[in-house]
């Protein structure tokens, strides 16, 4: 068939005539292409900003002050444990900075303290509200409280952080295993491929959810257990794509040339085939991250996920379902989830375009 040949020649000529394009390193070019997608570019900045901010959640939303000035000395309650007696109180236990008595001591006689913007941690119970819990937004709890009187804003900040960290680690582990398995199958083919394929069929037919329920009852549920369990099953879908790319790629001339150059198997796999097989990996990356966020959320929603006290978006949603009239629970969680998932998808889209070297 006829391809519009003049167009390709025009592209070549154009590339040759712009000197700026010639002197850019491959990384710079990819970054250039990434920036060209405005939506993804801004999403990346917003997402990074919010994520980095959430990494410092302890400084944003905490029931302990950042800095206390007491009798001409400085204290850092966020980092260190101080007894109430240190501040002239009665108990040997940690000072409760939300307690009126302690607050009085720390704000009079020339003492002062700097508190975080949202003076609640994810476990702090707010006693300010005059209404029954869950209490609607007020001047103390800007997003209201949940059914145990904990500040929703604080739980959202910590929950968001946990979800993202969980999703990114799960994606990294799952993608790494998936790529490796796909590479081995596709590159060596034959018996290796046959064995792996049968293994995946058996492994893939295991009921994942039942296993999760069983393990949740045997072991203490924790975020690490979830990462391990979900990684065990999460690599299979991806390995199929990488395998297909490798099967296709290993017969191409540039792989044969690399063999003729005397390159070792691992050199060919990592240097030649892998970069050219990453398109499906990168295409799926944002969806894997958002899928992992959703997986954690839904497991928490079902009560199979993280232990009860852990801040989690899924748990908030399930509270929202039980308290339908408490709109601030479901609506705020919904907003956080949709915002995060949407930005991830925009970033993924831009990333995919950036890594396509054939794009000018």
């Amino acid at each position: 068939m006829i391809t519009p040949e003049p167009i390709t020649t025009a592209v070549v000529d154009q590339a040759a005539s712009t000197p700026a394009a010639v002197h850019m390193s491959p990384g710079q070019r990819a970054w250039h292409r990434f920036k060209a997608n405005k939506r993804g570019y801004y999403s990346l900045w917003i997402f990074t900003f919010v994520f980095v901010l959430s990494l410092f959640a302890e400084f944003l939303s905490n029931d302990k002050p950042l800095l206390v000035h007491y009798e001409n000395e400085y204290y850092f309650p966020v980092f260190q444990f101080y007894k109430e007696t240190d501040f002239g109180g009665d108990f040997e236990t940690e000072a409760d900075y939300q307690d009126e008595y302690v607050r009085d001591i720390l704000t009079s006689n020339g003492n002062w303290m700097i508190e975080p913007l949202n003076p609640f941690s994810y476990t702090t119970i707010s006693y300010h509200s005059e209404m029954a819990n869950p209490a609607p937004p007020s001047e103390y709890n800007i997003l209201g409280t949940d059914d145990r009187g904990r500040d929703v804003m604080a739980r959202l900040i910590y929950g968001f952080r946990l979800s993202i960290v969980f999703a990114i680690s799960l994606t990294i582990v799952g993608t790494a295993i998936g790529i490796l398995a796909g590479m081995l199958q596709g590159y060596f083919g034959g018996r290796t491929d046959l064995f792996f394929q049968r293994f995946i069929e058996i492994w893939g037919s295991m009921p994942e959810l039942y296993l999760l329920i069983i393990f949740a009852s045997i072991f203490q549920p924790s975020i690490w257990l979830l990462i391990v369990l979900l990684s065990l099953f999460g690599w299979m879908g991806l390995s199929d794509y990488v395998r297909a790319e490798f099967l296709k790629g290993r017969n191409l001339d540039y792989v044969k040339s690399a063999r003729a150059l005397g390159l070792s198997n691992s050199g060919i796999m990592f240097r030649h085939l892998l970069p050219n097989s990453l398109t499906p990996v990168i295409t799926f990356l944002p969806f894997r991250i958002s899928g992992a966020i959703l997986a954690l959320t839904s497991l928490d929603y079902l009560g199979l996920g993280v232990p009860p006290d852990t801040p989690s978006l899924g748990e908030l949603l399930s509270q929202g379902k039980e308290n339908i009239s408490a709109w601030w629970l479901s609506l705020s969680t919904f907003g956080v989830l949709v915002g995060a998932l949407m930005m991830l998808i925009f970033i993924g889209e831009a990333l995919r375009e950036a890594l396509d070297t054939r794009r000018s």
């Binding site: 003049p6 025009a10 000197p19 044969k256 003729a260 050219n276």
Partner: protein, 536 residues
């Protein structure tokens, strides 16, 4: 009526709209197609010849194309302005088209019968039995053996030549007034090519139709067209009768094209030289298995007991049609394909070495592939591509020395240093092939296997690459194993030639002797199909 041309293309321009610019693919082209005439559009890739031809049928993708000026007049009507519905009636019935790639222009999921009857019933408005009879007649006419049985088969069951015959039968079944043949034989072997072109010529006379032949191959055009239009970069630079254009070209570009035909670039080889590569009794058999337990029922003898010898600084051309085993033989000699038989390189046995022991030796024998698009890793820069071999075989070099060598070899293949940071897709086919050559030459090998290195290139670029290869050979005392289906190219670069057919060596000898006194019938057939002038 007979003085009126069948189709008149007047001042045609075609523009393609891309995301950020307008590409002028065809600029102010005018030519007439007379009834019963065989007219050829020749030019290199990107010259706009296919685009012009597709415009006659208005087959471009709507939305991306616009015709700023010009007209295609057929029966006093401008086809460019016709609504799509009316064009559909003209396509196939009045003007038919056959394409280059017979593999993809037939739908693989339907049998031939269904595809042929569809168009016959649509255009001729006949019932099914009549259409079937017509289809069988047509298939018989184009020389498809046993049409009653073959019409039931699926495209993959036919060979390339047979498929192209089916395409022709389909195109001609509605007795079109004009047949547009876009590189109809480029994908076929030379002997098949000749048969198809002769068939086209017979049918043209029989049906009194016009043929618009689009080709890059001047040799073919010269033999099969009456009138020729030479195109370059969207412009029609010269047109006229075959005889006058070929014998007395007016335009500089036409002269350049004619001069680009490969000429003899090397003289006879020196018999005294040392043997570099020797293969004896090389066999590659692929088992044909059947049933659940993969019982071996037969074997395909891709390479069958071949003896081969290559001397230092010499080019051995291996020529044959597709499936003759020439590439498999080449790959076996470099141990890129498992085979049996003895291979020795510079006196050292290669066939007994393990892959890991072989790897350090690979520096000495390198390979350049046919398709410069797939042989360069698309996600590596030119610097990485060329430098990769150095990292393996010359690990003692530091980054600065490596870059120096890369720059030196780029200059040797006539490429600019600015290429270093660019990716393969930014280069034309010829430039990519230069990069592929630079990648192997930088290792200073003794032997390079060239597997159809110029087949994907335009004729003028082809000549430049061949000249480059000869220059490098003389400078570095390289030995080449040159695999090609193109006798013209093989003749221009080889000292000795080996003709292969179905895995076996038919004939071998000096280039000159082989071309002037071929001993075997098959060699003679190949030579006549290639339509070479017996010069030299």
């Amino acid at each position: 009526m007979s003085h009126q041309p069948l189709i008149r293309v007047k001042d045609l321009s075609v523009n393609f709209q891309t995301a950020d610019e307008i590409v002028e693919a065809v600029k102010h082209v005018s030519f007439d197609i007379q009834e019963g005439q065989s007219i050829a559009l020749v030019g290199e890739s990107g010259s706009g010849k296919s685009v012009s031809a597709l415009s006659i049928l208005n087959l471009h993708e709507a939305g991306h194309v616009c015709y700023p000026n010009g007209a295609v007049i057929y029966q006093q009507q401008n086809l460019l302005l016709k609504p799509e519905a009316e064009m559909r009636r003209i396509r196939g019935r009045d003007i038919a088209m056959i394409f280059q790639e017979p593999m993809t222009s037939l739908n693989p999921v339907y049998p031939i019968e269904k595809q042929m009857l569809e168009s016959i019933m649509l255009h001729q408005r006949v019932d099914r039995p009549a259409a079937l009879k017509l289809a069988l007649d047509m298939l018989d006419r184009v020389g498809l053996p046993d049409p009653a049985r073959q019409i039931k088969s699926f495209p993959h069951m036919l060979s390339g030549g047979q498929r192209q015959r089916v395409m022709i039968a389909m195109a001609l079944s509605c007795k079109p007034k004009l047949l547009i043949a876009d590189e109809p034989t480029t994908a076929l072997d030379v002997t098949i090519q000749k048969q198809i072109l002769e068939l086209l010529r017979e049918l043209q006379a029989e049906f009194n139709m016009s043929v618009l032949l689009i080709s890059h191959d001047l040799n073919l055009v010269k033999h099969y067209a009456d009138y020729v239009c030479v195109m370059n970069k969207g412009e029609l630079v010269e047109q006229g009768d075959i005889q006058s254009v070929f014998e007395n070209p007016q335009h500089a570009y036409t002269r350049h094209l004619l001069a680009s035909q490969p000429t003899q670039l090397v003289s006879a080889s020196n018999q005294e030289r040392q043997t570099l590569l020797k293969g004896s009794n090389i066999c590659v058999y692929f088992p044909v298995t059947k049933g659940f337990f993969k019982r071996k029922v037969d074997e395909v003898r891709a390479v069958d007991q071949v003896d081969i010898e290559l001397r230092q600084g010499e080019t051995l051309g291996i020529v044959g049609e597709s499936g003759s085993g020439k590439t498999t033989l080449g790959m076996s000699l470099l141990r890129l394909q498992s085979s049996t038989g003895e291979i020795s390189f510079n006196g050292q046995r290669l066939d007994t070495l393990r892959e890991s022991a072989l790897r350090p030796l690979r520096k000495e024998f390198q390979v350049v592939f046919q398709d410069p698009f797939s042989s360069l890793s698309p996600r590596m820069t030119v610097e990485q591509i060329i430098g990769e071999g150095l990292q393996i075989h010359y690990p003692q070099l530091d980054a600065v020395q490596r870059l120096q060598r890369i720059k030196k070899v780029l200059a040797e293949v006539d490429m600019d240093e600015s290429a270093l940071w660019r990716y393969p897709h930014e280069f034309s086919g010829g430039q990519r092939q230069r990069i592929a050559i630079a990648r192997v030459v930088i290792l200073e090998p003794a032997l390079i296997l060239l597997d159809e290195p110029t087949s994907a290139l335009d004729v003028s670029v082809q000549k430049q690459v061949l000249e480059l290869l000869v220059r490098l050979q003389q400078r570095h005392q390289l030995s080449y194993l040159f695999i090609s289906h193109d006798l013209n190219v093989i003749r221009s670069i080889s000292h000795r030639i080996m003709v292969m057919k179905q895995g076996q060596v038919v004939e071998q000898g000096d280039t000159r002797t082989l071309f002037s006194q071929p001993r075997q019938a098959y060699t003679r057939e190949l030579l006549s199909a290639a339509m070479l002038n017996h010069q030299s």
